[in-house]
């Protein structure tokens, strides 16, 4: 038995003397109690919710260990700690709530795990301007609960709401389940504050919009910790909705259902939730509806008169198709179960490999991308299920969320890599974008060159400008060609 478990993708470590020297100085900044090389801290901050981490955990290993964990409480402390890390050239991996699904929080080169959970305050709820100023380590559910108590909603409900942080949402360009009405996190964000490795504080103006050159703070959205550390944000909020209406339909044909959603979006209606499930997922999530038809669930909320008008418009557009009205109970069922991902733990224990792969494309090939990805996933030996649903819809397209479950006869990791390779190839071949809202992390970085083309080199130059010493979250966003993690 070990005090520290074996690591699998630890690319390198920093010399212990350098870590010790850093620790001595860092103690003066945050206090001895907020810096740790306790094995329990190192193990806990070694991973996120990337499924591969669970494969390794069962075998008694972790992906890679940090050498120190630090817990800053203020922007000023982040500034001093980052400047110090930069001067020692120690890698820094930001850590929020650890809900990332692609290995973005794994410290592959050791160094420092910057755990931001102590930065967890709502600094102001501004009723007049409908904005809030919030620190980025705050847990998502605690953020929403606090807003609710004051009569507002943040409008952002990722499935990870209860296990993710505000900073995590911003860092991976998250999207919530109610995003068709409230927008994705980039729509909700007015401005943000971030600290760059040299200690510079990048601060956006908290005004509705600016035309003062490119918004540098917006560059941090989706930066996944490779440019700096997001410390605070100004986010839009809404008064709690006066009325909520729920409707659902089933369709004989998934493609017809997609056309129906497209018409709804063209009409100007903006239901908060729009989710269309293929027959397999319809059967899995709504057993009463069977597994032969496609279920569409919609939730409309806001001012009562607007909700009434939008609901009527949606009903009219649905009636123009062969949709069968299925009432509100299936939407209520979804609302109740929407954070329940217990099936992942249970299937894993039965030997399954399960993952979700979300991509996005325009309406013209939204159905084709689904067919192509499903075919590619089913072609991998061992795949038992390759199903999908559309959510986060726009006037110009939708996100497609594929779920795949396999029982590999071979090594789980090899199977995992095969399903991703199949899914990403199919996605790219159809012209879809490789991620809608889970981000890139470590794993999806393998397809960043195909996704961005020449753009990836521009992104590398941006990274170099922000982080010349290359200390920030190394190995992520596919910026490095010779990563320890390969296809």
């Amino acid at each position: 038995m070990q005090n520290l478990p074996q690591t699998i993708i630890q690319e390198s470590l920093v010399d212990q003397e350098i870590i010790d020297a850093y620790a001595q100085k860092a103690k003066l900044i945050v206090g001895e109690e907020n810096i740790s090389n306790n094995p329990a801290d190192l193990i806990a901050n070694s991973r996120d919710y990337w499924p591969v981490n669970n494969i390794w955990m069962i075998a008694g290993s972790v992906p890679a260990l940090p050498q120190l964990v630090v817990w800053p409480e203020t922007t000023e402390e982040v500034v001093e700690l980052l400047k110090l890390a930069n001067s020692f050239k120690i890698p820094v991996t930001p850590y929020g709530e650890g809900s990332g699904t692609l290995g973005g929080a794994i410290p592959i080169r050791g160094g420092l795990s910057f755990d931001l959970k102590r930065m967890n305050r709502i600094l102001q709820i501004d009723d007049d301007n409908l904005i809030t100023h919030v620190e980025c380590g705050l847990n998502g559910a605690l953020y929403e609960t606090s807003l609710n108590q004051a009569g507002f909603t943040g409008g952002h409900f990722p499935q990870s709401l209860r296990c993710s942080s505000v900073g995590g949402w911003l860092a991976c360009r998250a999207a919530g389940q109610f995003s068709t009405r409230y927008g994705k996190i980039e729509d909700i964000t007015v401005s943000l504050e971030a600290v760059l490795p040299d200690g510079t504080i990048l601060n956006g103006r908290s005004v509705p919009r600016t035309a003062t050159g490119p918004r540098l703070d917006q560059l941090m959205l989706g930066s996944e910790g490779v440019l700096g550390i997001i410390t605070k944000a100004t986010l839009r909020i809404w008064p709690l909705p006066e009325k909520r209406q729920m409707v659902s339909y089933t369709f004989d044909n998934l493609e017809v259902a997609l056309q129906c959603i497209r018409q709804i979006m063209r009409s100007g209606a903006r239901p908060a939730v729009v989710r269309l499930y293929d027959p397999q997922e319809t059967g899995n999530h709504f057993p009463a509806l069977g597994d032969q038809r496609s279920a569409l669930i919609l939730l409309i909320e806001g001012a009562e008169k607007l909700v009434a008008a939008e609901t009527e418009l949606i009903r009219e557009l649905a009636r123009a198709t062969d949709a069968v009205d299925s009432g509100s109970e299936h939407v209520e069922h979804w609302l109740e179960k929407r954070f329940d991902i217990s099936v992942a733990s249970m299937l894993f224990q039965k030997g399954a490999v399960l993952d979700t792969i979300e991509v996005t494309t325009n309406w013209h090939n939204a159905y084709r991308v689904y067919l192509a990805m499903q075919k590619a996933l089913n072609a991998v030996e061992g795949t038992m299920l390759a199903s999908g649903h559309y959510s986060h819809v726009y006037p110009d397209g939708a996100a497609l969320y594929m779920t795949t479950v396999g029982f590999p006869g071979e090594d789980k990791l090899i199977f995992y890599k095969k399903i991703w390779q199949a899914a990403m190839e199919a996605c790219l071949a159809e012209g879809a974008a490789i991620s809608h809202h889970h981000g890139i992390g470590l794993h999806r970085g393998l397809w960043m060159a195909e996704e961005h083309g020449a753009g990836l080199n521009i992104l590398r130059r941006v990274k170099k400008a922000f982080d010349p010493e290359g200390i920030m979250n190394p190995g992520k966003l596919g910026l490095e060609e010779n990563s320890i993690w390969q296809k």
Partner: protein, 357 residues
């Protein structure tokens, strides 16, 4: 020794932890190592012999209040992580403790109480009476007026009762990693209960109730008495019109649900029903109540094991009560944890005794 349910433990270890915001320890410490799934992973790796129980890992695993806050929205109905964490620490049935806990274990060994010498007022009374009241060592050490109030209630209601020379119920010794001592204390109490001839055991301490109800049977010490939580017993006396509460000098109260009473024993309506029978008393619910209650920070002996964390959790919990309310509760740890210079916290038994005097 209870077995670790590996399937349930792994369900938690493999989960991203939708319960994070419901863990008071994680919210107080803001450290990933005390997140429910992080602790479950330590426990699972330890159970699979992949991780040794160093002091650091013991401390992380012990950073659990036993409050079952993580079960409120847990999608696994059979998962009780608090118990699995404790059981995994004790899997080899040997002394696995931390140096800072040793003085408490020494007190338990010598005096039968983690607080040291028990106060002299504990005496046997009413030998042979049907009801035996077990105050618990925390009440005896910190809140003797609570025991006096219970005696007052029993006398008013003409309940034939007895007290006994209590030993600690045993669970603190388990919590501090000495299951053998826990068992020894439990066998002492078991003997005394049997000798008492009582038919009903009433206890005002939720931790004692939980230990008598669930741990003793696991140790093959099935008690030959009906075990009744004090709030349930008090309500019965009221329902039988054996007590007649009158107006007190309190006008507005909020009841803090002790986590074991609410989430494990299901005692939520009883204390409210008692309060509602006191004339001119308005009861306002705090932000998190009934089985959604938040722990006071005192579960699993945190006030001794991790006093700073306990205090920090109590401060957070206190903010969830309306400013105009006096706080009423029915657990010696909650009373100890929530009482501050600024805030009045009243024991349900003391309030009832005052109302019936």
């Amino acid at each position: 020794m209870a077995e670790v349910n590996m399937e349930q433990l792994l369900n938690c270890a493999l989960c991203p932890n939708m319960c994070r915001c419901d863990c008071p320890v994680l919210q107080a410490l803001a450290q990933e190592k005390v997140a429910p799934a992080a602790k479950a992973r330590f426990a699972a790796m330890h159970m699979h012999d992949h991780l040794s129980l160093s002091e650091e890992i013991i401390e992380a695993l012990a950073n659990c209040l036993g409050c079952r806050g993580c079960t409120v929205l847990c999608p696994f109905p059979e998962l009780n992580l608090c118990d699995e964490l404790l059981n995994s620490r004790l899997k080899e049935h040997q002394l696995i403790t931390l140096p800072s806990w040793e003085p408490y274990l020494a007190n338990l060994k010598k005096y039968g109480s983690p607080y040291g010498q028990k106060p002299p007022h504990v005496h046997k009374t009413g030998k042979g009476a049907e009801v035996i009241y077990f105050a618990g060592c925390t009440t005896l050490a910190n809140r003797p007026q609570s025991l006096a109030a219970v005696e007052n209630i029993f006398q008013q209601a003409k309940v034939s009762y007895q007290l006994m020379d209590e030993d600690c119920c045993g669970y603190p010794a388990e919590t501090w990693g000495n299951p053998d001592l826990a068992y020894k204390l439990a066998t002492e109490n078991y003997r005394k209960f049997k000798e008492s001839g009582a038919k009903t055991l009433v206890t005002g301490c939720p931790e004692c109730w939980l230990t008598f109800s669930s741990r003793y049977p696991e140790w093959n010490l099935e008690l030959p008495l009906e075990i009744i939580p004090a709030p349930t017993f008090f309500l019965k006396l009221l329902e039988e019109h054996l007590l007649q509460p009158k107006v007190t000098n309190l006008s507005t109260v909020s009841y803090h649900d002790p986590c074991i009473w609410a989430r494990t024993a299901g005692i939520m309506e009883e204390p409210r029903s008692i309060l509602n029978r006191i004339p001119n008393l308005t009861v306002i619910e705090p932000l998190a109540s009934k089985d959604h209650t938040h722990c006071c920070g005192g579960g699993r002996m945190f006030q001794l094991s991790f006093p700073k964390t306990a205090e920090s959790i109590a401060v957070t919990r206190l903010q969830e009560f309306p400013a105009q309310s006096a706080i009423v509760t029915s657990c010696p740890f909650c009373l100890e944890g929530l009482t501050t210079k600024e805030r009045k916290v009243i024991d349900l038994a003391e309030l009832l005794a005052e109302a019936c005097s």
